[in-house]
């Protein structure tokens, strides 16, 4: 890939990638590292991508993989695949949400189970179709929807607690 192409890809995607990284890591330094790492991988391997329309998905997938690799180094956590969709309907009271800032919302996101976080972040952050989210997370669309249903439900609990108590509480996990 020529340098102008690299620059145009950076210009187009560094902000959404950073936002996704920040929503996962919640620290500026880690988000910057992940974003830079993603573009480094793009610079070295991006030429292998044949369909330019897939650039966005490719970048988000790469960032998510890099995040998961870092997390696995930091701690081991059980991988849990959902098969059935939770029937609980997620709903966030807009009044509560309006009273919070980004940091509080991200803190709430950080308190929900790890494997829901990326799906929820992509749900809010980027105009990704469910198919694209599934490609980024490398899971079936059904799993994306399962994770979202549960993840959004958890986030609702967090934000509701935050709205009522002024701080974000820890969610009660379903048994």
């Amino acid at each position: 890939m020529t340098e102008p192409n690299f620059e145009s890809v950076v210009a187009q995607f560094y902000q959404p990638l950073y936002k996704f990284a920040f929503s996962l890591t919640r620290t500026e330094a880690d988000a910057c590292d992940l974003t830079q790492q993603t573009f480094y991988v793009w610079a070295t391997k991006g030429h292998q991508l044949r369909d330019a329309a897939k650039t966005k998905t490719w970048l988000f997938t790469t960032l998510h993989r890099a995040f998961l690799q870092r997390r696995r180094k930091e701690l081991r956590f059980p991988h849990q695949e959902l098969i059935e969709t939770d029937t609980a309907l997620p709903f966030v009271d807009p009044v509560n949400a309006n009273g919070l800032d980004s940091a509080q919302v991200l803190e709430a996101l950080g308190r929900i189970e790890e494997h829901y976080q990326a799906a929820v972040a992509l749900f809010y952050l980027e105009d990704c179709s469910y198919k694209e989210i599934a490609e980024v997370l490398e899971v079936p669309i059904g799993t994306v929807k399962s994770r979202l249903t549960r993840g959004l439900g958890r986030l609702k609990e967090m934000l509701s607690n935050s709205g009522s108590s002024g701080r974000i509480g820890k969610a009660q996990h379903d048994s």
Partner: protein
């Protein structure tokens, strides 16, 4: 679809996104969104579902706004580009050089492999087997059948086969029978056929042969005029080199039969 089922579907609906055109949401949206189909009568909408849907959209946009408030550090883009220039760019010419070197090595390896395979195929031991087999093959036809050496040499010269050979004096006691030209990996070998006077077996047209090839066309051949004798099947052979040509004399029989013509 019941309102509860529609709620379940619309819980994952994001206003202002690609979900608007996602068929998975279409039916539920028709029940909940009054702005979706202006011609739809109000009685076809579920008022409770519509209210829930409005709140859902407002909640989504509110939370989405929090996510969109995240802003990267102003220097991030420059850092990414600087890192690309300092690390990735210098790597690329080096990588190209490495790839070019690897390609060169592979081409050379392929070339050498072919070269040595072809060279091995032109080895004298294989040459000897080949010409002996040619001579012992029954009922083979000579290109020219004559006892006139001059006619034989004229034919060989016309075919650009080795014709300026040195005939061993001892062969003058044998009778020329003719000649043939053998293809040897694209090069031509002269095959002179003689009769010693012994009774030939069925299918035999000669019992003494002299093969002449250019030295360069045979690998690992003899390099001196001293005769190297080898028994090949029922043929005794002697090979030597002289004036840039490889000679091989063969006779049906053993080394004793061959000695007379060396």
């Amino acid at each position: 679809m019941t309102p509860e089922e529609a709620k379940k579907i619309l819980a994952l609906y994001r206003p202002g996104s690609a979900d608007q055109d996602d068929p998975a949401f279409a039916e539920a949206l028709d029940m909940a969104d009054p702005g979706r189909q202006p011609s739809r009568r109000a009685s076809q909408l579920d008022p409770e579902l519509s209210r829930w849907f409005r709140e859902h959209c407002a909640a989504f946009l509110s939370v989405r706004g929090k996510f969109l408030d995240i802003q990267p550090p102003p220097a991030l883009k420059d850092q990414i580009l600087a890192e690309y220039k300092s690390h990735v760019t210098p790597m690329r010419p080096r990588r190209r050089l490495v790839l070019a070197c690897v390609a060169c090595v592979l081409v050379m390896a392929a070339f050498l492999t072919v070269f040595f395979i072809r060279r091995a195929q032109r080895d004298f031991s294989i040459y000897r087997q080949r010409v002996v087999a040619q001579a012992l093959r029954p009922f083979y036809s000579m290109d020219v059948e004559t006892n006139n050496l001059t006619a034989i040499n004229t034919y060989l010269a016309g075919r650009h086969a080795p014709a300026n050979y040195l005939l061993p004096p001892s062969l003058k006691s044998a009778t020329p029978a003719g000649c043939a030209v053998i293809d040897w990996h694209g090069k031509l070998v002269t095959m002179l056929c003689f009769r010693t006077g012994k009774t030939l077996g069925p299918g035999e047209v000669a019992d003494l042969w002299l093969f002449v090839a250019n030295q360069d066309d045979v690998v690992n051949g003899p390099t001196s005029v001293s005769r190297a004798v080898t028994q090949m099947d029922r043929m005794a052979t002697a090979a030597w080199s002289q004036r840039g040509q490889v000679y091989m004399l063969g006779i049906i029989g053993d080394e004793g039969a061959l000695q007379k013509y060396l």
